[in-house]
Symmetry: C2
Subunit: 246 residues, 2 copies
């Protein structure tokens, strides 16, 4: 038991409804580990032995192929990642790399798999979590296939503003380099696109975003509940990049 981290984890949808004894059992089988920034904690293709829970810091999930790589998501506290791989007892599909100093709780996959057979509420929570993650990735795929890069950037900027509480100004939660990769474009192209978007209702100053004409930006981004949300809750890897700080 780790009294400092357990309460936060307990509040996650995934663990909220299970019996206390079962939760305690899962936690006692798991342990905390701290990683320095920029460390590759998981390599894609490795067997999935542990469910990972970020309790501090942030983690980047990247897909790799033929020497190329792209950012699939960023996970921030408190949320889990690579649940699906653990359940399938299958290799990780993505590499996980810390963006900063990060504390992770590691829950043995085998205990996890045993637990949802015993605790129905936990099983239902896992079902809901996976369904939610699935829908997030589908939305993401739709965004990639249906929108061009300019529209993706506009949507992203608008959505971040909403996630930050509808504020007109906020700070980008990640480096532009990483954001570009997440949005499926090069850093150079993102930089240029951000500049040209100044004619469409948004001003960029470094990492600072100021929405000057929300209606105009929305006209370009055409936000759609079936792509951009609304059930984007930050408790899962599939939800993509985290909320901005306003």
């Amino acid at each position: 038991m780790r009294p400092d981290t357990d309460p936060q984890i307990r509040h996650l949808h995934l663990f909220r409804d299970m019996a206390q004894a079962n939760f305690a059992e899962l936690m006692s089988a798991s342990y905390v580990q701290a990683f320095p920034p920029g460390l590759e904690m998981i390599r894609q293709g490795d067997p999935a032995d542990f469910l990972h829970i970020v309790v501090q810091g942030s983690v980047e999930l990247v897909g790799q192929w033929a020497g190329r790589e792209c950012t699939m998501a960023v996970v921030r506290p408190v949320s889990t990642f690579i649940l699906a791989a653990c359940i399938r007892d299958a290799p990780y599909l993505m590499t996980a790399r810390t963006l900063e100093r990060t504390r992770i709780v590691l829950v043995p996959a085998s205990d996890l798999r045993a637990m949802f057979r015993r605790d129905t509420e936990f099983a239902v929570a896992v079902i809901n979590e996976l369904a939610s993650c699935y829908r997030s990735v589908v939305r993401n795929a739709k965004s990639m296939k249906l929108r061009n890069s300019r529209e993706r950037v506009a949507s992203y900027l608008l959505r971040q503003s909403i996630l930050a509480g509808g504020v007109p100004a906020y700070t980008l939660p990640v480096e532009k380099r990483l954001l570009a990769s997440y949005l499926g474009m090069t850093p150079e192209n993102l930089s240029r696109t951000l500049r040209t978007l100044e004619t469409d209702g948004v001003k960029i100053d470094g990492a600072r975003v100021i929405i000057t004409d929300r209606a105009r930006l929305a006209a370009l981004a055409k936000p759609d509940k079936l792509i951009d949300g609304p059930d984007t809750h930050a408790e899962e890897s599939g939800s993509g990049l985290p909320a901005a700080r306003s």
Copy 2:
């Protein structure tokens, strides 16, 4: 009870392990419906009232936005689709349209949600199904972001050959127009790409594909277990386009 379709459905991973009585109960609450070709049976955004099971024919799942649309998957017998939406009791993220005359078994979503609370084996099956679907979509997203269109086409052609049993020649399971959309490109571009691939070990004659130099094609496609499979089993919508007929 529909003795003609029930046995096929019972064999699906999703329903294989549940108690017979529970399965029978689910089936008795559901019903079969036949649709003509080209009919939109589900429109994205509609509430998800029924889990759909294709028992005959084929269904295209398309994403739509701003007047554009793209094919996300094709579902063939016997498999389910839009499981996640049913579980979340959320709107469909994709439109479903029949490609030919199609018979569908409709299972009320509410019965489904009630059932996995009562039948642990079913709950575990749902968990495995969702985890599997999730991984399929992630693989798909990786393919879209990491490979260019030429590489995607090459991978697709190679994978179809493998799914057909490693045969050197087979027939495309879908129209090229649809395949282009699925691979995220225009029909014109697919047509041109297929032609240029003749220098890379594959010959196209109408819908007929003949792999003339497997090694050469593989060198271009760089097939990867973490993108192209291997746990591509055709029982889910997330698995994408179905296997080719050899």
